[in-house]
């Protein structure tokens, strides 16, 4: 584990350098925004500089960090719960043909239920506490993670499973040496999808259910018809999501899947 962390640190500069392409394409998006804002009423779409200035103001006044921290805590708590429970249950379900067939319709029901429906239920159950956004995020993140884990286990090569049986691998070794390395290549994309979902859903939940966090701040900017402020918050949330995904999940994924790229 320490080795993985050290390699993650060592690989970071090269990895960031390799990110220039992504940054360039983001700048292109910014240019498109700037272009569009010249033709539109600033109340509908303020130009990016105004928005970034607003964001800068929010950040230097310190208000934004506090709200982002609250939102981040809720999103990541719900995401982490989903990651743990979804991965574990999905892998267990994948071990048994019957369990996977039974689980499918349940997951379809989960996917089909709109997050707003869960949010209303959560508000009834948890009120204005942290429980409401965390629960909503948990439920929204669960299906992709569960399905990823289940498919990962189901697609493990039967020949390798036989080999593990022939060499009498004990259950824990079977988990860490056989199942997890294979399942991770299904889990990582699922985790990244779920992470995106978690940030979207947490803001929505906060907007309707809590008095603090980015969502609540958005409710305020909306009532004040402050488009620049709204966009500033959106940029802040998207930036936080990108940071978590590209600085944490993606490098860890590269390290864990090194055997795949070397082949």
């Amino acid at each position: 584990m320490i080795g993985v962390f050290r390699q993650w640190l060592a690989g970071l500069p090269a990895y960031l350098w390799g990110g220039w392409g992504a940054i360039a394409s983001l700048l292109l998006l910014l240019a498109g925004w700037e272009f569009a804002s010249q033709w539109l009423d600033p109340l509908a779409l303020p130009d990016p500089r105004t928005v970034l200035a607003t964001l800068h103001g929010l950040l230097t006044e310190g208000e934004a960090w506090a709200e982002l921290a609250i939102t981040g805590r809720r999103a990541l708590t719900g995401f982490a719960l989903s990651l743990g429970v979804g991965s574990a249950l999905g892998m267990l379900a994948g071990l048994s043909m019957t369990a996977s067939m039974m689980a499918r319709p349940w997951v379809t029901v989960l996917v089909g239920t709109p997050p707003i429906g869960w949010l209303v239920l959560a508000m009834l159950w948890f009120g204005a506490s942290d429980g409401t956004p965390v629960f909503t995020v948990f439920v929204a993140c669960f299906p992709p993670i569960f399905i990823g884990a289940m498919q990962g286990v189901r697609t493990l090569d039967g020949q390798l499973r036989e080999m593990a049986q022939a060499f009498a691998l004990p259950p824990l070794q079977r988990l860490f040496d056989l199942y997890l390395p294979h399942v991770l290549s299904y889990l990582f994309p699922a985790w990244i999808t779920a992470l995106g979902v978690s940030w979207k859903v947490v803001v929505m939940a906060e907007l309707l259910a809590t008095a603090d966090g980015v969502g609540a701040a958005l409710a305020v900017t909306r009532s004040q018809l402050d488009t620049a402020g709204t966009l500033a918050w959106i940029v802040a949330v998207v930036g936080a999501l990108l940071a978590v995904e590209y600085l944490l999940l993606e490098p860890v994924k590269r390290e864990v899947e090194r055997w795949r790229t070397l082949a």
């Binding site: 020949q159 390798l160 036989e162 080999m163 049986q165 022939a166 060499f167 009498a168 691998l169 004990p170 070794q173 040496d177 056989l178 390395p181 294979h182 055997w259 795949r260 070397l262 082949a263």
Partner: protein
């Protein structure tokens, strides 16, 4: 399952049969393999050799007949390398030792030792299986089985991906290992000469359904056999009417069939 008798342990199959769905692939297999002996199993492709080996290894449920495996530790090498793609060659070799709870340093030392004897250097040991050649992969798979020091070694075409030099070297290694301690080996091969060179007995299978057509004993020590002897016995085996029928070769044997008995082979 364990069969503790007064005699040395053995592997015993009586009337073993197997069907995949409605298709019978094995029927009425009787086989006896005592400790410290090498037995070869030959037969045409698809006659059920791998199935039989998997039954012995306990990887398939036994449907018919009885298998008594009196050996305490068996190890198995599959027809495909079946290495874990996310583990280095060294960790793959050490896999079974890890399963037995051998500490990391010790199992790596043992695995490295075994690998060296098979001509795998440290570079190869640090690589992932996909980076190794086919022959290296099968040596890793063989090392993974042998490093466990089994009393019963099951080999499914262990040597088919190797060049002649490596084959000769690994034959020597296998016989040396077998001289050190009484290890029983059941080896599937498509190479009659390999069977005749290494084995104390050759079981010949016939297809549809897979069954034992006949078997031959060679009582001399495999390590002492000369090339000439091996050629003569292989030729003798190939001249045998039952063997020819099993492999679907043209029935008429050559005008003056070589008597296998004359070169030390006993039909049982």
């Amino acid at each position: 399952m364990a069969h503790i008798g007064v005699t040395a342990p053995a592997l015993e199959l009586a009337g073993v049969g197997h069907a995949y769905g409605a298709r019978t692939v094995l029927s009425g297999i009787d086989l006896h393999l005592p400790a410290g002996r090498i037995h070869a199993l030959v037969g045409p492709s698809g006659c059920g050799k791998t199935t039989l080996l998997h039954l012995v290894a306990g990887l398939l449920p036994l449907q018919d007949g009885a298998i008594r495996n009196g050996f305490a530790r068996s190890a198995c090498m599959f027809q495909q390398p079946r290495l874990l793609p996310w583990k280095s060659a060294l960790d793959n070799i050490a896999l079974g030792l890890k399963a037995r709870g051998v500490p990391r340093a010790a199992r790596h030392a043992q695995a490295r030792d075994q690998a060296r004897r098979f001509g795998l250097d440290d570079t190869a040991l640090g690589q992932y299986p996909q980076q190794l050649s086919g022959g290296m992969q099968s040596r890793v798979a063989l090392a993974r089985a042998l490093v466990l020091a089994p009393d019963l070694l099951l080999l499914d075409e262990a040597f088919s991906a190797l060049d002649v030099g490596l084959k000769a070297e690994l034959y020597r290694q296998l016989l040396a290992e077998q001289a050190r301690r009484p290890m029983a080996v059941l080896m599937i091969t498509h190479d009659l000469m390999e069977a005749v060179r290494l084995a104390h007995a050759v079981w010949v299978m016939a297809p549809e359904p897979g069954r034992i057509a006949t078997h031959f004993r060679f009582d001399d020590a495999p390590a002492q056999r000369s090339d000439a002897q091996v050629y003569a016995r292989t030729a003798g085996l190939l001249d045998d009417a039952t063997v020819r029928a099993s492999f679907g070769l043209d029935a008429p044997a050559p005008a003056a069939p070589l008597a296998l008995a004359a070169v030390g082979g006993l039909r049982c």
